[in-house]
């Protein structure tokens, strides 16, 4: 087996076959599926969920994960927070010529481990190799298919004034982990990405708890952008309290240095949810049973419904409130 990926690995011939056999099939445990041009999955529910996402992270390996783990967890979590039970995902790879096969193997292995944790099969895939300089190492696209939970219980139409807003843990960990992993930053922090599959935690909530109105995973754009989108989509005013939002000290410190706002940093293993306040304690307790939900807490309330435009207000420690908006443009580190 060659050490690096070459353009010939993408030509569909012997080398492609070798790469698929040696790297992908070995990790993903494909059997019969590989004999057809499509994978077959048994769907019994009438309502299905489908999601797709592409992953172009730099660096490919970072504290707490790699692009493969991210690609699987991201797609599986998107299904799970929509109230679906993930069944299978596809994985498309665009690989830059010269990429180390040993690194590809690590990435694929991560994907297999995360998929296994969720009981999800990686059912189909595609591999393309592009000339050096046409891609940055590896890009991965994953598409996920799931069936809606039998209770189908997410009911955003029942959001009421007084409902609780819960975050499942500390925010900004993934954003800072990625930034500190970029060698040029030289940030001395041991923050690990929170990148994790949340399927079991969410399934447990869906199976045994009532009162979850809506869930989102606050990835790109962070907690603030997710909440702003929810408020606009479902027409409510939310007020969150700055002092209750869980943020690690080192994430706080790194944000101060770089001029970033943790509310806008990406997360890859968190859920923000709006719940019936009478079920708040029960839901928190259930979240805390899991490592990924250990720091779960209430961060605010819905203060008005039927607000056609929808907005999110942040209560500051000085007792003032200011409006949160979507992330504007790119996060760029400041000069001093």
């Amino acid at each position: 087996m060659a050490k690096r990926v070459s353009l010939a690995h993408g030509e569909g011939g012997e080398l492609t076959h070798q790469l698929i056999n040696d790297v992908f099939i070995k990790a993903f445990n494909h059997k019969e599926q590989t004999k057809f041009d499509s994978a077959f999955i048994n769907i019994t529910s009438e309502r299905m969920a489908v999601t797709t996402d592409s992953y172009v992270v730099n660096p490919l390996f970072f504290p707490g994960g790699d692009i493969g783990k991210l690609a699987v967890t991201g797609t599986i979590n998107d299904l799970a927070v929509s109230g679906a039970i993930p069944l299978g995902i596809t994985a498309g790879f665009i690989i830059e010529e010269g990429f180390l096969i040993s690194d590809l193997r690590k990435i694929v292995q991560s994907m297999a481990i995360e998929a296994e944790k969720s009981g999800v099969k990686i059912v189909a895939g595609d591999t393309k190799v592009v000339e050096k300089g046409s891609a940055d190492g590896v890009f991965i696209n994953t598409t996920g298919i799931g069936i809606m939970h039998r209770k189908d219980q997410l009911k955003p139409e029942t959001i009421k004034t007084g409902d609780s807003i819960i975050i499942s843990g500390t925010i900004g960990d993934h954003g800072i982990a990625i930034l500190s992993a970029r060698q040029e930053l030289g940030l001395l922090t041991d923050v690990k990405s929170d990148c994790a599959v949340l399927t079991h935690m969410i399934r447990n909530l869906m199976d045994y708890s009532e009162g979850i109105r809506i869930m989102r995973d606050p990835t790109r754009g962070g907690l603030a952008t997710s909440l702003v989108e929810l408020s606009e989509d479902f027409g409510f005013t939310a007020e969150i309290d700055d002092s209750t939002i869980p943020i690690r000290d080192d994430v706080h410190g790194a944000c101060d240095i770089l001029g970033f706002d943790p509310l806008y940093l990406a997360n890859e293993g968190k859920i923000v949810m709006i719940v019936d306040p009478s079920k708040e304690i029960e839901i928190l307790n259930r979240l805390k049973e899991y490592e990924a939900g250990r720091d779960a807490c209430v961060i605010g309330r819905i203060v008005e419904c039927n607000d056609s435009k929808g907005k999110v207000l942040l209560k500051t420690p000085l007792g003032t409130t200011r409006r949160l908006h979507r992330l504007s443009g790119m996060l760029l580190p400041r000069i001093c």
């Binding site: 003032t320 409130t321 200011r322 400041r334 000069i335």
Partner: protein
């Protein structure tokens, strides 16, 4: 750790607000108007907006932003020059992140990068030396912007380049000094300021004593403050008390970081490698000896001397950043604010920078 916890303690913060409002009322009783305080530093502007201090104190104290954001005061000519330099394929241009979107006369560095020019974001000027070593066949040029906080590391970078005998590296200097611009502001008489919240990190380098001229020459008090909301509130409180007691003094309220004499090592680095020059400030124009250039013996690292480029006169827009950085108008007074000028499509640098007054208003004080 206890001090740090105190700085974010909401109860302590509320007590600090009450104390400031009490002092502000005493000022109003004595002078029949609100006190006008200028925070010189862009990071202070951002912290004041983000924490809610500006909103909370709007009826009690007039807080205005000063010319202390290094991105906001960088002249269009410098951006235009860098874009012109990037046209040659054997050049790598490096800059700080928030300079990428600052508009020049026609384009920003970000737009030039999307057209395929090799323009890279670095987190420290020292990183550019690694890039120069890794690319010996290319010229690596750094856009050297910043106030006294950043200037010592530019000098250090020159020192390192000499030690490592790196020849394919140069800096396009467009640094700024705080004292000349504050003197210019006060002598222009355009804005009436009762007192200054002085920049914490610039003071780490310069020291408290380098701000005594404000009290001595202009009879204006100042307080050197840290960046946490509680520190800023205390700075405002102490400044109001100086004004009530009619004391033109400079107080160092950031003592664990700022010494009277400043950081001697950083100052020596500046003095060894750099000399004063007449610098152009965006929206203000040229202020004599308000920046620093490389000394003659280091001309080989000076991009202005190393490369021959012709700069056109910058195109004028309706952007009023020049008045905003001098505290003459508020961002909402600019006809472009949130109407064509936003962080996604900034017309002026005050909307680009993480420390810019317009960006602070847009992000933290905008209502729709």
């Amino acid at each position: 750790m206890e001090t740090l916890n105190l700085l974010s303690d909401p109860v302590y913060a509320k007590d600090s607000v009450d104390a400031v409002i009490h002092a502000a009322n005493r000022f109003k009783e004595k002078y029949g108007r609100k006190a006008v305080l200028m925070e010189v530093c862009g990071s202070h502007t951002m912290a004041i907006a983000k924490s809610g201090i500006k909103t909370r104190l709007k009826d009690d104290v007039q807080l205005i932003a000063g010319p202390g954001c290094p991105v906001c005061v960088t002249d269009q000519e410098s951006i235009d020059s860098m874009i012109q330099l990037s046209q040659e394929s054997n050049r790598i241009l490096c800059t700080f992140g928030d300079m990428m979107r600052v508009p020049g006369s026609k384009f920003s560095l970000m737009q030039a990068k999307t057209e395929g020019k090799d323009i890279r974001v670095v987190y420290s000027p020292l990183d550019t030396l690694k890039i120069a070593e890794q690319n010996p066949d290319k010229e690596v040029i750094f856009l050297g912007i910043g106030f006294e906080t950043t200037i010592p590391i530019l000098a250090l970078t020159i020192q390192e380049a000499m030690t490592k005998r790196i020849k394919n590296f140069s800096i396009w200097m467009t640094t700024k000094l705080v004292e000349p611009v504050l003197r210019n502001l006060l002598e222009s008489g355009q804005v009436k300021v009762d007192g200054f919240i002085l920049p914490g990190q610039v003071s780490v380098v310069l020291g408290k004593n380098r701000f005594l001229y404000l009290a001595k020459d202009y009879k204006i008090p100042g307080v050197i403050s840290g960046f946490e909301p509680v520190q800023l509130l205390r700075g405002i409180y102490r400044l109001l008390n100086l004004l009530i007691d009619e004391k033109a003094e400079i107080i160092n309220d950031y003592t664990y970081a700022v010494k009277d004499e400043g950081n001697q090592i950083a100052q020596n680095l500046i003095n060894d490698y750099l000399m004063p020059n007449d610098e152009g400030w965006r929206g203000i124009g040229i202020i004599p000896e308000s920046g620093l250039d490389l000394k003659e013996q280091y001309a080989r690292f000076d991009a202005k001397k190393k490369f021959n480029i012709t700069i056109q006169k910058p195109k004028m827009t309706k952007c009023r950043c020049g008045e905003i950085i001098r505290g003459l108008i508020s961002p909402e007074d600019c006809s472009l604010f949130n109407k064509g000028c936003s962080p996604i499509n900034p017309i002026g640098p005050c909307m680009v920078s993480a420390e810019g007054t317009c960006a602070a208003h847009y992000q933290y004080m905008r209502e729709e």
